[in-house]
Symmetry: C2
Amino acid sequence: MPALLSRMAQRLVIASPRMMATAASMQPAAVPEKEYDPKKTFYHKDLEIQLASPSQLHPKPTDPTKLKFGHTYADYMMTCDWDQDKGWHAPKIEPIAELKIHPGAKVLHYASELFEGMKAYRGVDNKIRMFRPDMNMMRMKRTALRAALPNFDGEEMIQILSEMLRLDSEWVPNSDVCSLYMRPTLIGTDPTLGVGCPSAAKMFVITGPVGAYYSTGFQPVSLLADSRFIRAFPGGVGAYKMGCNYAPTIWVGKEAASKNCQQVLWLYGENEDLTEVGTMNIFLFWKNEQGELELITPPLHRGLILPGVTRDSLLELAREWGEYKVTERTLNMHEVKKAISENRLFEMFGSGTACVVSPVGKILYHNKATDEYEDLMIPTMSSKYGIMQKFYDTINNIQYGRIEREGWMREI
Amino acid sequence: MPALLSRMAQRLVIASPRMMATAASMQPAAVPEKEYDPKKTFYHKDLEIQLASPSQLHPKPTDPTKLKFGHTYADYMMTCDWDQDKGWHAPKIEPIAELKIHPGAKVLHYASELFEGMKAYRGVDNKIRMFRPDMNMMRMKRTALRAALPNFDGEEMIQILSEMLRLDSEWVPNSDVCSLYMRPTLIGTDPTLGVGCPSAAKMFVITGPVGAYYSTGFQPVSLLADSRFIRAFPGGVGAYKMGCNYAPTIWVGKEAASKNCQQVLWLYGENEDLTEVGTMNIFLFWKNEQGELELITPPLHRGLILPGVTRDSLLELAREWGEYKVTERTLNMHEVKKAISENRLFEMFGSGTACVVSPVGKILYHNKATDEYEDLMIPTMSSKYGIMQKFYDTINNIQYGRIEREGWMREI
C-alpha cells in the first residue's frame, strides 16, 4: 500500500491542539484558541489516524456490481467519543473492528441512537465526490438534538469523512452503477440504566461498497398498504433519523413479504394519508382533478415524514425544470384509488439514497371497510411521461460527474 | 470466596448436550433428545459458568440504601448468542465485561432491542426470591415476536436467572428497602445494514443492587401533561418493551424537568386520554359521577400501554379485596379536571417495578385551547383512604416474604 504509506507520512503533521499549544512558538494554531470548544464539536485537525497493518486490509470485491447492500465494509472506521464533562475527544480513524460497549450502555436498552445514510461516487473523471453531505449533516444535527445526543459541527465531520474516503479510496468502486455507502452513527454509551440524557456517547462512521441497484433495469415493487400498521405519528419522531423508527417496521416488513410485497406503503390517520414507502419518500405523477400534470409528494410539516435528501433534490430539479406543477401536500388513498380508476395516475415511485428512485408497480391495499385486500395496479413502467426516468438519469449524471451542479457534489 | 468455589465444583457436573451424547452410556440425558431444539430455546442444562477471578470481583456497596438506580452492577452477566442457522448457542454466565459488537450490528442502527426489568429480594427469612418472573418472561416473549428477535422458553430463562442469583447472592442487599434489579436484554447483532430481520442476536442479563426508592417517605411527583408529546399510538409498539419506546421520551423528559416536573403524563388523542406516567402505569382513585369509590387504570386493548407486572398485581389485589369498584377504562383529562374541581379525585399514582407506587402531587397541564399551563393539584398525600399506601405495604410484605402469596414469589 505505497499510497497509504505516503499518506501516513503526510498524516504525521496533523497536530492535536495540545501539541499545538506546546509548540505555539513554532507555528500559529489554524483555529484560534477562543473558537476551540470540544463541548460544541470535535475537530478535523485533531484527527488521529491509525493505519491498518497489511493483515487488517480486506480483499476488495472482484465485481462490485453484484454486492448486496450493507454486507461488505471498507477497511477503516471513524470513532469519536464524547462525555458530559470533557465534551468531544479527538476523532480517530482506525481499522474497522468490533466496538466495546458496556452491557448497560443506553444504546442497548433505550435506543439512544441515530444515523445517516450517504454516498460517495467515483466520477467519470476518476474524482471521488460525496452527494450533498451538508444536507445529511444538517439532518444529523437536528436528529441529535431530538435524541438528546451531543451535537457537533457538520463541516468538521465532512472533512473527516473526506479523510476516510482518501484512506479507503480504493474501496470507492470504479463503476458508474456502484458507490461507497457511508453510515455516520451516533450512540449513547454511558452504562447507567436510568431513562435519561446520555452522559457519554460515541460517534462512529463505517463505509462499504454497494452494487448496482438496478442490474437488469428498473424493477417495479409491490407495496402493502394497510392502515393498521403505522410508522410515525404527530408528536413523535418520524421526521428524525433515529433508530427507533426502524425496529417496529421489521415485523411489518415480514407481513408484507408474506403477501408477496417488497415494501410497505405507510399510511396515517382516518383518511389513510400516504406518508412513506419502506424507508423511502414517495412521489406521484398524475393529472389532477383540474386536468393539470402534477408531481406530488407528502409535506414535511406534520412531522410524519423523513426529510429525504433525494426528495429535496427531486423537488429542486422539478421546480427548476418547470415542466409540470410541483406540489407538497397531504394525499390520501381515496384520491389515489380515484385517480387510478380514472386512468389519471401515471407514475408512483419511492426516492432514497440507496436507489435514487424505485418504481411502484402495484399496491396491495387492505380495505378497512371490507377487511379485504385489493390489487391496485400502477402503470409506472409504461408511463409515456418518463418523469421517474429523467430524475434517475439526471441525479446519476450529477453523482458521477457527467453533469456539474453547483453546491451538490463535494469533491474530496 | 469459598461459597463460590464449592459451587464451582458443583457446576462442573453440568454437561452440555454434546458432552451428554458422548457420555450417553454413562447417564441418561435429563431432557429427552426429541424435545431438545436450540431453534426454539436455549437450555439451563447447557449453561457454562466461568467464575470470576478475585481481581474481577467488585467491592459491594457499604450502604445499599443510598445506591442510585442503575449505576452499580453485580459481578456476573449472562450471555447467550443466537444465529439463524444454528439457533441458540449454550448460555454462559461470566464476569461482567464490555460486549464486543460489530459497528454494523442492527442494534446500533435500527434499535433491534428489547428488555425486561425485574427484581430479586432478600426476604426476612434470608431467602432470595424473584417477584413474578413468569410475567416478565411472558412479556419478553411477546415483545421478541413483535421485534422480530428470536424466541425462547421462559422457564429455562428463569432457571438461568436463579443460577445468576446464586452466584451473585451476596449482591442481593440484606435490607427490606433494597433489592437486586435484573435486566434481561435481547439485541440484534448481525452486521448487515439492510432493514430486515436480524440473522444473529444476543441475549444478555445484567443485575445490580438498587437502594431505597423512598428513603425519607413518599415523595409526590409533579407531571407535565402536554398532548403535543405522544409516547405511543394505535398500530405502534407501545404495548411492547422495545428500546424504541424510550429514546423519543428523553428529550420530552428534559422539557418536563425544565418546568420543574419529574415525570411526563403521557396523553393520547383528541380527548387527551391518560396513558402512562414516565415509565410507569397510572392509577386513579376517586368517587365517580355515580358516587361510587373507584380505582381506575387505562385499559390494555388499544395497544398504547405497557402491560406492567405491578399494574397487574395491584388490579389482582384490589379485586380480591373488593373494597371499591375496580375499572380498566379509557380516562381523559377533561374527566380528571372535573373530578379535581369537584373534590372527587383522592389519589393518583404511578406503578412500576422500581418504586411499586409513586404518588402524584401535581399535574402541570398544557391547555391546548389557551396554549397556557395550568397547575392541577392532586391531594394524594392527604388522602384519608390510604389506597396507595395499602398497595405499597402489601406488595412489599409479599416481596420480602412477610406475607406468603401463592405463585407470585419464585425462590431460588
